[in-house]
Symmetry: C2
């Protein structure tokens, strides 16, 4: 076990505002070299004392069939995005409370939702998936047949292309938690059938360059998908974190297109129609198209951009006094694995590289962490992610300059959190 | 995209009883080379036909705060192990239904339980963790202080040392699913504080070679842990699959000792007492000690042995006709990553190497898969895992020879499933 005194360099401040070397905490420097860490000690733990609480004096509850979170955690819920209550019947959204989660996996109960027509109540015995159009053999599958097919397992994020929309369009930064601000983003382990196995069986004809994927919900949400993406890593997802996918995520089956914007990962998938051109459905033309600053529209933006958010601390939280903290956040990119996340505590004047929690998987959330000595003074926290292609998050100013003022899709600008002198954490544009 | 006709070798049968090359299915050979695969075609998918079910004609339910599985999946529950209902007040166990899960992550609601005195209802605000005994600075932590500490995230299995006990002790194989037979095993992503950070802060004295970990439940379950294990990769786990750990798994905090038998990963952790020798608590001496064939007892067996189970198909299931299937199962070892899983369809006469789903993580469940053409004849399926240390699963006969007939702990023998001519899958000793 290494101690700080063996490695004096780990005591270095690596950037302004109290950012410390990322290896500091895990090397046990806190205890071994505590005296040398001016202003960067852990919150003082009280001296040990004994007391037997009442729950240790009685028998508890027996084992049960399906577990739920502790009663004291009942407030950990998805946040319902109320402003969209009247877009269409049952149009509704809920965001993952990232400021209450750690790690990288999103538990199934907290995976975000975007429903264009609500969550249908599907009888899995009667659900069918058709593959038709420009194929040699039009096919229809039920769940029983699919159970015998080869499967793969992979952890991937899903992000609505409208995630972080309030930061994109509101003139003043909204004071809300990461659930409302950045919650249309989740990360789970998916298991299902590689789409190339199913498309090979149907025999997509050479002129079948696109497949129009349609959901079995009321609005029949439909998107045109390039055949190359489906063949490369498309999945017919049947399981989510091991169990059957939840109704909110497309039970009994959804399309998974790693890295592509959320709505293309069609839920309740019922039809794949091979065509020679995109169908220009209302969802791809009318609802999920970005308008640029010059008035033209982008058709299509499939992959989600590189992005990161510090979740601890983040807006709506309050610091618990000055001293040592671990900054923690999540980073992701639709283009591949995260290569680097830099953190600033002085509003971008200086940056330090955060520790990435391995395994760093492509198109999955990556947790980053960095020790920080908060001196009790105002600080401006930021994180800036870079992916394996070299793409880096833009500033909000640069992002806004690219688009028409009305656009709220594909917002991936740097998030800034203002820490006030009294420890409040606020959402700011910087 | 590759087709079987480009790679005639993938059509080879690689072992007896219909086992096929593990690359077969993912290379799209089914469609491209279907005609060449005598007796190994996919179940025939029906030709496409349209019909609009009633759920696609109405608006669905709106977004909600915390999601639950589909109503049609209400039968996917943990199995309560009834035979142990009267061991002690509230002693109870429930097993993960692995035959209904795919992938590697266990959703939190289905993580197995073993409670010696039930699940306590702990007030997180009043829960404390003491570190005391042979330490420089006795310390007591509350949840608020711990939130500022550095954290790590890692996916690990937990397995009760009594897992698979029915196979160990019943003279005739019990006909039950993987929930009752092998369900005291789960795999989740844990996030918490490295134990070496906390022990360094307390300053364990050189003579403090053991720490006695005690839970805050009624029975105060206690186990003695070597300090080396805690310093190497011990974790004070606070989060499970991203959210706060569940009451059944130790809310608000548990000890995590990757690879070590389940009960040492003390739930509801409230005390770590540094001592110069193991405490020989009743749990380590009386309840979790194996008796060998010569009457002596093993003290201590910390790490769980290398093990695997085919989950699809497995006992209580019925085959849906002859033809192509994907065999699928899970493998794990307390000593490190899985190196290899071999599968036999002819009762061990011949073996074929299964495909391992990456990333293959140390001390975590690894999913393995292999295509199989079931010819509709009786077959005897087995899987045999090998870990990175070279350890291989024993036969049941070899395992039984080592222990006293009464021992049911640390059972890791090869599981055999008999497929009858009419497609029933049965638990057998072979």
């Amino acid at each position: 076990m290494k101690r700080a005194t063996d490695h004096p360099s780990v005591l270095d401040h690596v950037a302004g505002g109290g950012l410390l070397n990322r290896r500091l905490l895990l090397q046990g420097a806190v205890a071994g070299g505590g005296a040398a860490l001016a202003g960067a000690t852990m919150p003082r733990a009280a001296r040990a004392q004994g007391a037997i609480p009442e729950w240790a004096t009685v028998a508890g509850e027996r084992a049960r069939g399906y577990g739920m979170p502790a009663e004291a955690e009942a407030h950990v819920q998805r946040a319902i995005l109320e402003p969209f209550a009247d877009v269409a019947p049952q149009f509704s959204l809920s965001g993952t409370p990232h400021h209450r989660l750690r790690g990288t996996i999103t538990p199934n109960g907290l995976h975000f939702e975007v429903h264009h027509g609500g969550r249908p109540n599907i009888d899995p015995e009667r659900h069918r998936l058709m593959i038709h159009g420009l194929v040699e053999r039009p096919l229809q599958f039920d769940l029983g047949a699919l159970e015998r097919y080869p499967m793969v397992t992979a952890t991937h994020f899903l992000e609505c292309s409208g995630n972080s929309l309030f930061n994109a369009i509101m003139p003043d930064p909204m004071q809300a938690g990461c659930d409302l601000l950045h919650g249309l983003l989740s990360n789970t382990e998916w298991t299902g059938i590689p789409m190339n196995v199913l498309l090979d069986e149907a025999g997509v004809k050479p002129e079948g360059r696109w497949l129009v994927a349609t959901g079995g919900d009321g609005p029949s949400l439909a998107r045109s998908i390039p055949v190359e993406k489906l063949m490369e890593d498309g999945m017919l997802a049947l399981y989510q974190n091991g169990e059957r996918i939840r109704p909110e995520q497309g039970y009994p089956m959804r399309l998974l297109l790693p890295g592509f914007e959320g709505n293309m990962n069609v839920k309740w998938l019922t039809s794949l129609w091979a065509t020679d051109a995109p169908a220009h459905t209302k969802h791809e033309s009318g609802e999920y198209t970005e308008i640029l600053a010059d008035g033209s529209s982008v058709k299509f933006t499939f992959a989600m951009g590189v992005k990161s958010v510090i979740t601890h601390p983040s807006a709506t939280m309050t610091m618990s006094g000055s001293g040592l903290y671990e900054l923690s956040g999540i980073a992701w990119s639709g283009a591949g694995p995260i290569r680097k996340v830099e953190v600033s505590a002085d509003g971008g004047a200086s940056w330090a590289e955060a520790e990435l929690q391995g395994p760093v998987l492509p198109r999955a959330l990556t947790r980053f962490r960095l020790p920080w000595a908060w001196e009790g003074a105002p600080s401006l926290l930021m994180s800036r992610a870079e992916d394996a292609t070299g793409a880096v998050q833009p500033t909000r100013e640069a992002w806004k300059a690219r688009y028409d003022a009305s656009n709220f899709l594909h917002y991936n600008a740097i998030q800034a959190w203002q820490i006030t002198a009294n420890g409040e954490v606020q959402n700011v544009y910087a």
